[in-house]
Point group: C2
Chain length 137, copies 2
């Protein structure tokens, strides 16, 4: 079980809920929102548990968050290199306006940018909206 290994590596208890949610992420094409998980047909986990699990996964470096402009947070699996408190996912995220899937472009690094004097950057996110490769016919 890949899921168990991930949980153990993160120092988390291995529970049914966590395995199931993690499985969803592994099986999923793109990023997932809370609602996607809660409403997934094959899942029957309490809303509250979903909230708490996502939070735990973020804190443990298992998933990372993707900002949006629709009162939603998207989550996607981290690379192996991520650790608790120190994520390492400075890649670009692509939101397709056609199929509405959000993909991690793992190979496209977020470029550096020169900030005005006095601004000290800690973390940078880059979100590109457009048409994804599957939707370009």
């Amino acid at each position: 079980m890949q899921q168990e290994a991930v949980l153990k590596k993160a120092g988390l208890s291995v529970t049914e809920s966590r395995k199931t949610i993690l499985e969803l992420f592994f099986a999923s094409e793109g990023a997932l929102a809370h609602a996607d998980i809660e409403k997934h047909s094959s899942i029957n986990i309490d809303r509250v548990t979903v909230y708490r699990t996502l939070q735990t996964f973020v804190e443990s470096g298992i998933i990372h968050q993707i900002p949006t402009t629709d009162n939603t947070i998207l989550y996607a699996l981290c690379k192996d290199s991520c650790e608790a408190g120190h994520h390492h996912d400075e890649h670009v995220h692509f939101i397709c306006v056609s199929c509405n899937k959000t993909n991690c472009l793992d190979d496209v690094m977020v470029p550096m940018v020169k900030l005005p004097k006095g601004f000290l950057p800690i973390q940078t996110a880059m979100i590109v909206k457009g048409t994804c490769i599957d939707c370009r016919n």
Copy 2:
């Protein structure tokens, strides 16, 4: 009145609510969330009107949205050059983790980035988290 001019230029009716909300944006240091406006002491506008006004302002190119990872949308004034349906605010946004203010870095353009073959970009956002100039003592 600067507010009236902006509304008229956008082809919108000039109403008290709109002037008041616009005034808040002009007076504000950083970006505003819906809750900031609704809860602002000097304001007494119905929640629904705030929602509708923000939506109208976005559609009219008066304000633009800033994505976040906290189930919130931030809004900030557009430059003059923005028009309905065609925003022109491809600047970097800076979220200070200390004072929690979000600033438009109007002079820092979002850099181009080379996407994998097949991905067609329409709009790009860049959000930098860190410590702002006011919070660096």
